[in-house]
Subunit: 420 residues, 2 copies
Amino acid sequence: MSDVRGRGFRELLRVETALQRFFQALGTFTPPTERVETMDALGRVLAADVRSEMDLPPFDRAAMDGYAVIAENTFGGSPTNPVLLEITGKVGIGEPATIEGVPGTAIAIVTGAPMPTKADAVLMLEYARPGPRSTLEVVRAVSPGENISRRGEDVQRDSVVLRKGTVLRPHDIGVLAGIGRTHVDVIRPPIVSVISTGDELAVHGEHLKPGQIYDMNRPVVIGLIREMGCVPLNLGVAADDERTIALKVEEALERSDVVLISAGTSVGEKDLVPTVVNRAGAPGLVVHGVAIRPGAPTGLAVVKQKPIVLLPGFPVSAIVAFEAFVRPLLTRMLGARPLPPPRMKAKMLRRVPSHGGLRTYVRVKLSRLGDEYVAEPIRASGASMISTIVRADGIVIIPEEKEGIEEGETVEVSLLRPVE
Amino acid sequence: MSDVRGRGFRELLRVETALQRFFQALGTFTPPTERVETMDALGRVLAADVRSEMDLPPFDRAAMDGYAVIAENTFGGSPTNPVLLEITGKVGIGEPATIEGVPGTAIAIVTGAPMPTKADAVLMLEYARPGPRSTLEVVRAVSPGENISRRGEDVQRDSVVLRKGTVLRPHDIGVLAGIGRTHVDVIRPPIVSVISTGDELAVHGEHLKPGQIYDMNRPVVIGLIREMGCVPLNLGVAADDERTIALKVEEALERSDVVLISAGTSVGEKDLVPTVVNRAGAPGLVVHGVAIRPGAPTGLAVVKQKPIVLLPGFPVSAIVAFEAFVRPLLTRMLGARPLPPPRMKAKMLRRVPSHGGLRTYVRVKLSRLGDEYVAEPIRASGASMISTIVRADGIVIIPEEKEGIEEGETVEVSLLRPVE
């Protein structure tokens, strides 16, 4: 396990500097793409702009129930002086728009039905009274184009409907369906190997032997990867043994695009992962020790052009390191920015100290106080205790430039849970 | 298709009143539960409180690398006057805690290893100097309990770790793994049938005939259902024919927990769905016509104790009606509150009118202006055009009590997309 306070590191790199060094060592990355059915593309990232091959709607259509007319023929119509038009037919929805509008006539039409050619407006039902025989009385004039939904008014042929990098939401799937796109090219999400190291780790489902605990980091990290829309590859637990770890890392590099390995990442006697990773290939570790709290014993490495992130052993430290480094990495590989997490403002209940130069992640519990929310910090230490984040409603980040948060100070909370 | 402005309805019910009437007609609902593997439970809703059957950690363990000692034996130690202790052994992680601490001795220990019995503190490496032979010099005293992580300090046996109704996040999966829970009882999410009606609708993948358009509402609604963690059942398109619609509704009631049917829900000639639903069983429609814009021609029905929501035919209206009625319904059936959508504040670029008594959903485009964001309203009409929501970055809701938004007024935007 790792020393949570970052002792023993020569230097703790700031998050931005560390990420810069990491991304530079990784070089440019062109994500692989794949073609999927539009109906299966929810949450996927568009690999290319989508241009429409058709007009939507593909024809002029009625936007109201009423009568298709030539607008000019209705001019002057009023309740006291109605204009008389002859009803010569009816267009239903889903029918071809082959009927022709003739001066002095009206064609019954329902919303969504194609406009008869030459007709240029729809007279709403409210403004038509039944007249003698098959006529109607127009009691209000309509203007040309009124109550018509024009061909291509929603989407024009050849226009770009969705940009490359869009994370597809339900309404995006809708517009793709609307323009007849049955398939789309999307980014193939990275496969992310997850390895835990530690002689004390029992595997979920096994009986605990004395001195053992259940591995928590793998389940947590696999969940975070899934929530991002990436594909976790669970490579299990490696004992604290260089050869065992080296074999797992080799397997991970072969089978996945990203390797996450937790615990044994610090500078202590049992911290074998840095050594193993450096031996696996150049450049190896490009960052070791970062200015976040908790989470200092994080390492960023590049081997065989693939990113390896060494996550601290304490579960809360691993989560914070994931947020600070793995999330930006995977976001970059997905070629898309995700929606931000839900946030809210709250007043800090107590003073929270922090060290200048360190980015500090404070878990908080929220409660309502009148119209406001109050954030109660959960002890800043205790990164070994997963309950300190399970009990939290959100996270407050104290940036590097700031020393602590004052009592009563308003802060922005990233929500982990819904609040009352 | 439906008249978007709600004309023809005798009364438009306010959202809260409509939901109240709907939920009352539905009666109490006990969601079915199922047992799933913890590793497959991400995003699921806990059906019962989870109590821990073990202490976490299950034993006292070292929280630092150093020496397990009896604290009292270190008292008085200082750089100039060190206390001498004999090193009698070593405990590694994953080993049983069977070694006994003996007064006057120290046992080498690494973070995470079980504490020797009787030892009550860990002397950090920094405060120990090598002494003659197998001894060490203590240069600073430690207090009892120092640098020890106590049995049960993270989770106490028999305590409630997670409450019923929790939507399981990655760290929740972690704590469940940590306390050895291989399975959890969760809510079985509702199966939601989705039917589109309309003679003009072509099915995705088919060639468009004249007068036809592709169905957009089903793809959109299926996506919204999926995003909520519920299970869509795609029942395709029904022609505007009472018998066809009735058969689809019957099938939907048999195969699913909730029925969503879009278009043909208003009060026009082609609006057959209300009639069909009322015939399908009592009480039938309990709400028809709601005070939202767009989305007025929405219906809420109960047949065979199952909820049926009649969604308007225009895609944006269908989305708004989903947000106003289907989301609260499914949330209630899931027994959990979801995280709120990400929100941000912005200044409205232009005045937006709205009718008092109507809840108005305004699509907006966001752009940065200095330190602030500016929201530009996308035309409030045009609910037939899906592009008006595809182009939007977010939604602003004007509540019933408010008449419009002034130019420059600060509003809260629910984000549909990440913003720059």
